[in-house]
């Protein structure tokens, strides 16, 4: 029986078009709304960047890290050091991103020696060590933190608009990078490793190399988020930027939204953020509730909210896999469903 294989179906074409429209709409937002809205969105974008990158790491490369805040802090402090030496903070963002990817290489040599289960705490130790090293440098503000120089000359409204655009740019780059990565040869390698590592190895896939590349990319993404944090807050404090709380946020968002899909973290971020706005004054209760939900989702609905939606409605907005259309049956037919399960 012949089978026709396609990347996407009509919903994906529509979602591509819709993404472009949303992007343009978001781009023009600083002209339309006040700065309190855009600065809220900056925080949302930062969270989405982090969740997307964590999802890439855990959902596709099988690397559960609890230490991505190491690169968050490294990115923020890279911007600080460059700004202290006269570089425009906005121009320092790409430098911070690149620097985090480079710094992740030697770190990966160390933490990759730990088995999957211990890898999680190993990355956490690295983040703790980064924090303790940072506070030893008085020029970085020590434990009390440092404020970001170099943005004083900007008009506040203009500065906030630029911050917003920078965050939008980092977010767009992150989502595009994740999407293209998963559609590339590397994405195929990762899927093969996830399904059967020994089998993948036998057909020439190099798991260690593929995982390392994803680790470097995730570090770069976290570095970009860290750069955005210092620019939007205008100061940085080691205990807060290196806090494991960031890991809690990215993990909860990805798990509730759906690990292993691009759509999941987007949905999760919007949900998390809405909850955060309405439960903010509840303090610790907020994290108790979200944490409990994440635990229950991980145990009973491991594919998350988006997994449930895409199963129910047969929907993929960012197609990274393949659709099989057996001849003579509709694309949604039983055989196609079975074949998709296999994917």
């Amino acid at each position: 029986m012949s089978v026709r294989v396609t990347r996407s179906r009509r919903p994906a074409t529509w979602s591509g078009l819709a993404s472009a429209l949303v992007f343009v709409a978001l781009l023009s937002l600083p002209y339309l709304v006040f700065a309190n809205v855009t600065s809220l969105l900056v925080n949302l974008f930062i969270l989405l960047v982090l969740a997307t990158m964590w999802n890439l790491l855990a959902g596709y490369a099988g690397l559960v890290s609890v230490g991505q805040q190491a690169y968050l802090g490294l990115g923020a402090y890279t911007v600080l050091v460059l700004a202290q030496n006269g570089v425009n903070p906005f121009l320092a963002i790409p430098v911070a991103i690149a620097f985090c990817a480079v710094a992740a290489l030697p770190i990966s040599l160390l933490v990759f020696r730990l088995r999957n289960e211990y890898f999680a705490i190993g990355t956490w130790v690295v983040a703790e060590a980064f924090q303790l090293i940072t506070v030893r440098f008085p020029q970085l503000g020590g434990g009390t933190g440092a404020s970001l120089p170099g943005l004083g000359g900007f008009d506040p409204a203009l500065r906030q608009a630029f911050t917003y655009w920078a965050a939008l740019a980092v977010l767009a780059a992150t989502l595009l990078a994740a999407y293209l990565l998963l559609r590339s040869r590397l994405g195929l390698d990762l899927t093969a490793i996830r399904d059967d590592e020994v089998g993948a190895r036998s057909v020439g896939v190099q798991p260690a190399r593929a995982k390392r590349i994803v680790y470097l990319i995730a570090a770069a993404g976290a570095g970009g988020a860290g750069a955005l944090i210092i620019i939007s807050q205008l100061n940085v404090q080691a205990a807060s930027v290196f806090s494991v709380q960031w890991s809690a946020y990215m993990i909860f968002v990805a798990v509730i939204g759906g690990v292993g899909t691009i759509e999941g973290p987007i949905l999760g971020t919007i949900l998390f953020f809405t909850l955060q706005q309405s439960l903010a004054e509840r303090g610790a209760w907020y994290l108790i509730i979200v944490g409990t939900v994440a635990v229950l989702v991980a145990m009973y609905a491991p594919r998350g909210l988006w997994g449930a939606i895409s199963d129910r409605f047969d929907l993929r907005l960012f197609p990274t896999g393949y659709w099989l259309h057996p001849q003579g049956s509709s694309p949604g037919g039983l055989l196609a469903r079975l074949l998709r399960r296999e994917r």
Binding site: A58, G62, V64, V66, L109, L110, V111, R113, L114, R115, N116, E117, Y118, A120, I121, G122, W124, V125, V126, E128, A129, L132, I133, V135, R136, V244, S247, A248, I251, F252, V255, G283, A284, W285, L287, I288, G291, T292, A294, V295, A298, M299, Y300, P302
Partner: protein, 288 residues
């Protein structure tokens, strides 16, 4: 003399770290689960100990008789109701679930006990010490904790190698499917292993509460120290864990001697150095 004192205090502190690491090591050895809420459960045990000590007016040592069995029950339930289910989803799910549990526990303790720090009144134990020289003295309490760590490790070792239930645990760890064919109730055996691990967590938490003050967020660092002790010593070896704890304790004490803010970082750096030079640890055990 100050350096010798640092080494001695570091060794004793290492006993506490080894006590923390036992439970982590056991859970990983038996069911390949890294419990990221390990440290938070220990802090919870310290709070329970505080309630028992102030409520019943008993000394710290006696409170272990109430808290450790209670924690064994908690461990059995956590294993049967939460960890087992996550294991069946996927091994990595256990990390997500125990991490979520850690955040929930920390914030629940924050809500219930406030952010203030407490310490366990250890009475005459805390005050007493053997004064060897004017600069070098060994506190009774830290000596008892070190001895407790050694006793726990020796009994665990004996239990796992000699006792019928211990051998059943090892058999299940080696091959759960074969063990279940041979008539072992795998889930129950895992539950027992978790109960033992949690009882050691309770001991570690109480010892920690007697050593220094604790607050709801203190668990994170406990987990990290326990983990470092396990990896420095060598995964899969209980004696290695004791050695790892001692190496970590001595590194921290010597680091703190150099500069008071350098202690914890020195421990992390030694851990990373071991990872770089001897990734299998100082006393690599057979991985059960």
């Amino acid at each position: 003399m100050a350096w010798l004192n640092a080494v001695v205090q570091g060794i004793l502190l290492g006993g506490l770290y080894a006590l923390f690491a036992c439970g982590l090591s056991l859970l990983f050895g038996v069911m390949r689960v890294v419990n990221l809420a390990h440290g938070d459960f220990a802090v919870l045990a310290a709070y329970l100990g505080l309630a028992v000590i102030t409520g019943l007016h008993v000394p710290l040592l006696w409170s272990t008789l109430a808290v450790a069995p209670l924690f064994a029950v908690v461990g059995y339930l956590v294993q049967r109701l939460i960890i087992q289910r996550s294991l069946e989803v996927s091994p990595l799910t256990t990390l997500l679930v125990t991490f979520g549990l850690s955040v929930v526990l920390q914030n629940a303790m924050l809500e219930g006990f406030s952010a203030n720090s407490h310490s366990l009144p250890s009475g005459w134990l805390a005050a007493g010490s053997f004064r060897l020289t004017p600069q070098l003295s060994i506190g009774h309490f830290s000596l008892i904790v070190f001895a407790a760590a050694v006793v726990v490790i020796v009994s665990l070792q004996l239990f796992l190698s000699r006792a019928r239930l211990g051998r059943q645990i090892r058999a299940t760890a080696d091959d759960a499917e074969a063990a279940s064919i041979a008539g072992t109730d795998v889930r129950h055996v895992f539950g027992i292993a978790a109960a033992i691990a949690f009882a050691t967590v309770a001991l570690a938490g109480l010892a920690f509460g007697g050593y220094s003050s604790f607050d709801p967020g203190a668990g994170t660092q406990r987990l990290i120290f326990a983990f470092e002790a396990v990896v420095i010593g060598g995964v899969g070896s209980l004696w290695g864990t004791l050695l790892g704890g001692v190496v970590l304790g001595v590194s921290q004490a010597l680091g703190a001697q150099v500069d008071s803010g350098f202690g914890v970082l020195a421990g992390h750096l030694v851990f990373l150095a071991v990872l770089a030079i001897r990734p299998r640890g100082l006393l690599p055990g057979r991985v059960t």
